[in-house]
C-alpha cells in the first residue's frame, strides 16, 4: 500500500506518517517512509510518502511515482491539488479543508482553490473522495481516525488500519497527551464511519 500525506509545515504530517509506518512495522511488513520537509519552517510544502509491502521480504524503493498512491491525505487544499497526479485512479482521497494562502497570492488577489474546487478535481479521478471541515486538533490524528474507518477491506488485507491496532500504536509512540490524542482519533473514526 502506498500513502501520500501532504500539507504545509506544522500540521503533523510527519507524525501521521510515522504512526502508520510503525503500525505496519509492528505487523512485520516491510516499510519505507520518506518525508520532504526541508523548507517547512519557511512556508514550503511538506509531503510524506509511506510505502508498505504486502509480504515480508518484498523490496521497496523509497519514493512514489505519479499514479502510485492508493491513499492521499491532503492537509492543505493547495498542496492537496498539487498532489492529484500521484493518486491512483479509484484511490482514496481524504481532503482536509485548510488553506494556507501565500501572502503574494493574497496581495495580488489571485484565486486560491477551495475545498469545492478540490472535490471537483478529485471526483474526476476517483469516486472515493472524502472531506473534513473544521476538524478538532490535532488534525493528523483526526485524519488517522478517518482512514481507519474509510479504507475498504480489500485495500487493506493486512489490517494496517484496524482501529484497535492503531490505538495501540498511538499509545506506544505518543507518550505526551496520549488520552487526548486517542479521543481525537476516535472522533475521526466516527466521522469516517459517517462517510
Amino acid at each position: 500500500m502506498n500513502i501520500l500525506i501532504t500539507g504545509v509545515g506544522g500540521q503533523g504530517t510527519v507524525t501521521l506518517g510515522d504512526l502508520i509506518a510503525e503500525r505496519a512495522m509492528g505487523l512485520g511488513l516491510p516499510v519505507s517512509v520518506y518525508h520532504s520537509r526541508g523548507m517547512a519552517h519557511r512556508g514550503g510544502r511538506v509531503a510524506g510518502e509511506i510505502r508498505i509491502a504486502s509480504r515480508p521480504g518484498e523490496r521497496l524503493g523509497p519514493r512514489l511515482s505519479p499514479g502510485g498512491a492508493d491513499v492521499l491525505v491532503g492537509m492543505e487544499i493547495g498542496e492537496t491539488i498539487n498532489s492529484l497526479p500521484f493518486l491512483k485512479e479509484d484511490g482514496v482521497a481524504l481532503l482536509i479543508d485548510y488553506r494556507y494562502v501565500p501572502s503574494e497570492a493574497a496581495l495580488k488577489k489571485e484565486a486560491y482553490p477551495d475545498l469545492e474546487k478540490a472535490r471537483e478535481l478529485f471526483s474526476r479521478r476517483t469516486p472515493r473522495v472524502f472531506s473534513v471541515v473544521r476538524p478538532p486538533a490535532p488534525v493528523n490524528l483526526f485524519a488517522l481516525g478517518c482512514l481507519a474507518a474509510l479504507l475498504p477491506g480489500e485495500m487493506d488485507p493486512q489490517g494496517i488500519f484496524n482501529p484497535e491496532g492503531l490505538e495501540d500504536t498511538i499509545r506506544r509512540h505518543l507518550k505526551k497527551n496520549t488520552e487526548g490524542n486517542l479521543e481525537v482519533f476516535r472522533k475521526g473514526y466516527v466521522h469516517g464511519r459517517q462517510g
Partner: protein, 643 residues
C-alpha cells in the same frame, strides 16, 4: 533491534559500530543528519567519537584525512556542492592513500529537493581515483558503511560513500546496536615524504601508479566479498536480455521485476551494483555473456553505462546496450519506478507489436515518452505555489528592510542597485516582497561576484549579502581580496548566530553557550576589523531607524564597507524562550492599505474581515513580536500587547 532509521542515521550508527574515532562535516541537505546524529550522542554525554561541524568541507576532510593518516578511522560528511569545495584535498589524499579507514560521505540530490545544481558525484570518484559505494536504501546504507571502513584499510584508499536524497532521507527498518564501539588503536604516523608530500614529479607519478594499483585491489575486493549481485534471467542462452542497476534504482528495479514475474512475463538477468566504482568488470562480463541486450538504469550521468559500453567494445561484444546515451532514459532528475517501467517497456513494446521474441531490442530512437505514464498523471490545471519566505520574526527581514529603506532615502532606485546574495537563509531576500538579491552562485560567491561587477564597471554601490556561517566558510578569503585590491563594495553580514537553513548547526560565530564543551566563539567583528576594512558598523535589524542610518552611512562611505546585522535566529530563540511579545492590529484603525504585508511579507500577517470591515490581522501563533510590521503602518494601528 530493528528500528526505523533514515539513510543518514544508518550511516552514522554503522560508523559508530565500526569504531570511528573522528567525525567531521559541514551541514548541507541531504547529508546533514549523519553528523547531527553523532553530535546528539556526544551532547547527551554518551560515549562518542570526536565530532565537529568544521568551517567548510575542505577543512572537515583534512581533519578526517589527518586522523586516517594517524591510523584512526574517520568519517567526513557533506553534500555534493561541498565535495567540490574539498576536491583539491581529496585528490591529494587519494594519491597518498590512507592507513586508517577513511569514509567520505557525499550526498547527491537528483531531482533537486534542496537546491543547488544537480551533480553526479560518482564522476568525482573517477576523477580522484576512489572506490565508490552507492546504497539503494537505508539498510544498504548501514551495511555498506560498515563494509567501507574495512575496505578502506585493506586497499589503503579513502572510500567515497555516495547516497542520494531518496536514500539519505528515507526511513526503513535497520538493525543496529546504535552504540559506539571504539577500537583500541594507538595513533601513529611515520615520516614518508614520498607518500605524504607532492614535492617533485617522481613522487607524484609514483603516487598515481599506487592509486591505480589500489583501485584494482578495490575491484578485486568487490568480487571476493560478493558485494554486487548477479541474478539469472528467465530466458537462458545467447538470446537473453539483461538489466544493470546502480544505487537507489536497484530497489525500484526489484519492485518492477517482481511484478513482471508475478504477471508471468519474461524476467531479465540482472546485475545490481552497490559497489559501483571501479566497475566490477568480471560480473559485467558474465552478464554480457548471457545476453544480447542490456539496459543500464542509473540516475543522473551515464557513468556505469559508459563503463559498460567501453568494456563491451574492448570485449568485441555484439549485442546492444540501452540507456541514456541513446535517449531511452532521462539524464535529468530523480528516478522512480516510473522510469524503470518505461525503460523495460522500451524493451518490450516493439517486440509485442511485431510478435517477436520479448527480448528483441527496441529501436534505439524509442524515446521515454512513448512508453510513458498515462495522460491522467499530468498535473491538474490548478497548481498552487508556496514560495519559501523568511519565517515570522526572522531578523534577516529587518536587515533587508533597512537596506531597501536606506536605498529609498538616498534616492537610489532598487532596480539599479546590484545586490549579490549568498547561500543559506539570507538568499530568501531574493523573493518578493523583499526582492533585494540578484544572484546566488556558491558558498561565499557574493563577494567575488560583487568585485567582478565593480571591476567590470557596474554602477556603485555594489552590495553583497552573506550569512554568518557562509562568511566563515568561504567569505573570509574573498573579503581579504577586496581589502587587498581596494575594491569598493558594501558587505552586509547577516549574523543570526546559527547555520539555520540546514537545521540550526553551530558555526564559529555561535554563542559559546551553544558550542560543544571546550569550544570557543570567533568574533566576526574582530576578524573583519583585523583585515583593515574602511568602514565597519553593527546594527540591530529590529531597531529600524538606527539600522537605516547605518545602511545609509555604509552606502555613502568609500572603500570596503562592512555592516554586521546581528540578531539571533527567531526559530532558535523560540526553541529556548517560551514567553514572547506579541503585536496586534487595531481593526478599528486599520485602513486595509496592506502596507505591512506589502513591505514585510511576514507570514503572520493575513487579511480578514470583522463584520463588513476588511482589515489586516496578526496570527498570534506565529507572531514573535519583532515589530517590523508596526514600522510600516502610517496609521499607528499596530501595537505591542501583553502576551
Amino acid at each position: 533491534m530493528s528500528r526505523l532509521l533514515s539513510g543518514n542515521q544508518a550511516i552514522a550508527y554503522a560508523a559508530l559500530e565500526e569504531g570511528v574515532a573522528l567525525v567531521t562535516g559541514y551541514p548541507g541537505t541531504p547529508s546533514t543528519e549523519a553528523l547531527t546524529e553523532i553530535e546528539h550522542l556526544a551532547r547527551r554525554g554518551e560515549p562518542s567519537p570526536y565530532v565537529e561541524w568544521s568551517v567548510n568541507e575542505k577543512v572537515a576532510f583534512e581533519l578526517a584525512a589527518g586522523a586516517a593518516w594517524a591510523g584512526k578511522r574517520a568519517l567526513v560528511t557533506m553534500k555534493m556542492s561541498g565535495a567540490n569545495v574539498a576536491l583539491d584535498a581529496i585528490i591529494g589524499v587519494a594519491h597518498s592513500g590512507v592507513t586508517g579507514g577513511l569514509v567520505v560521505y557525499v550526498a547527491d540530490d537528483p531531482g533537486v529537493e534542496a537546491g543547488m545544481p544537480e551533480q553526479d558525484s560518482r564522476l568525482l570518484a573517477q576523477l580522484c581515483g576512489l572506490p565508490l559505494l552507492d546504497p539503494s536504501d537505508p539498510a544498504a546504507a548501514y551495511r555498506l558503511t560498515r563494509y567501507a571502513f574495512g575496505l578502506s584499510e585493506r586497499i589503503g584508499l579513502p572510500v567515497l560513500l555516495r547516497s542520494v536524497t531518496s536514500v539519505a532521507h528515507a526511513r526503513a527498518p535497520v538493525d543496529s546496536t546504535m552504540r559506539w564501539r571504539p577500537l583500541d588503536r594507538p595513533a601513529a604516523f611515520s615520516r614518508d615524504i614520498s607518500r605524504y608530500t607532492k614535492a617533485g614529479s617522481l613522487i607524484c607519478l609514483l603516487q598515481h601508479r599506487e592509486n591505480l594499483a589500489r583501485l584494482a585491489k578495490a575491484e578485486e575486493a568487490f568480487r571476493a566479498d560478493g558485494i554486487n549481485t548477479l541474478t539469472a534471467g528467465s530466458v537462458a542462452g545467447p538470446g537473453g536480455f539483461g538489466v544493470i542497476g546502480a544505487g537507489v534504482v536497484n530497489a525500484y528495479l526489484a519492485e518492477a521485476l517482481a511484478e513482471r514475474e508475478a504477471a508471468g512475463q519474461p524476467v531479465p538477468a540482472g546485475l545490481y551494483l552497490e559497489a559501483v566504482l571501479p566497475l566490477e568488470e568480471g560480473k559485467v562480463r558474465e552478464l554480457l555473456h548471457s545476453c544480447r541486450t542490456v539496459t543500464v538504469f542509473e540516475e543522473l550521468e551515464p557513468v556505469v553505462e559508459r563503463e559498460v559500453r567501453s568494456l563491451a567494445t574492448r570485449l568485441g561484444w555484439q549485442g546492444r546496450i540501452l540507456g541514456k546515451l541513446d535517449g531511452v532514459l532521462p539524464r535529468v532528475g530523480r528516478y522512480t519506478r516510473r522510469e524503470i517501467l518505461a525503460g523495460l517497456a522500451a524493451l518490450d513494446a516493439p517486440a509485442a507489436a511485431q510478435g517477436a521474441a520479448p527480448w528483441t531490442v527496441a529501436a534505439p530512437e524509442a524515446p521515454l515518452a512513448r512508453a510513458s505514464t498515462p495522460s491522467s498523471n499530468t498535473p491538474p490545471s490548478v497548481m498552487v505555489k508556496h514560495p519559501i519566505t523568511f519565517c515570522a520574526g526572522c531578523p534577516h527581514r529587518g536587515t533587508y528592510l533597512a537596506l531597501n529603506r536606506a536605498l529609498k532615502a538616498l534616492k537610489l532606485p532598487k532596480e539599479e542597485v546590484v545586490v549579490t546574495g549568498d547561500i543559506g537563509c539570507t538568499i530568501l531576500g531574493m523573493n518578493a516582497p523583499i526582492s533585494s538579491c540578484w544572484t546566488e552562485l556558491a558558498m561565499g560567491s557574493s563577494l567575488g561576484l560583487a568585485q567582478g561587477f565593480q571591476r567590470a564597471g557596474l554602477r556603485e554601490p555594489l552590495v553583497a549579502t552573506i550569512g554568518d556561517s557562509t562568511f566563515f566558510h568561504a567569505g573570509i578569503p574573498a573579503l581579504v581580496n577586496a581589502v587587498q585590491h581596494a575594491t569598493p563594495l558594501v558587505l552586509i553580514i547577516l549574523d543570526n548566530g546559527w547555520t539555520s537553513m540546514t537545521g540550526f548547526q553551530v558555526n564559529p560565530g555561535s554563542d559559546v553557550g551553544f558550542q560543544a564543551a571546550g569550544s570557543r566563539r570567533v568574533s566576526i567583528e574582530a576578524v573583519v576589523r583585523a583585515m583593515g576594512v574602511d568602514f565597519l558598523e553593527r546594527l540591530d535589524p529590529f531597531d529600524q531607524p538606527a539600522a537605516i542610518e547605518v545602511m545609509k552611512n555604509a552606502i555613502q562611505a568609500a572603500g570596503v564597507r562592512v555592516v554586521i546585522a546581528q540578531r539571533e535566529c527567531a526559530l532558535t530563540v523560540a526553541r529556548r524562550v517560551k514567553e514572547r511579545e506579541l503585536y496586534r492590529i487595531d481593526a478599528g484603525i486599520c485602513t486595509f492599505c496592506r502596507a505591512c504585508l506589502r513591505e514585510t511579507g511576514c507570514p503572520a500577517l493575513h487579511m480578514t474581515r470583522t463584520g463588513d470591515k476588511e482589515h489586516m490581522a496578526i496570527d498570534e501563533g506565529l507572531c514573535t513580536g519583532c515589530g517590523l510590521c508596526a514600522t510600516c503602518c502610517k496609521f499607528d494601528a499596530i501595537h505591542e500587547v501583553e502576551a
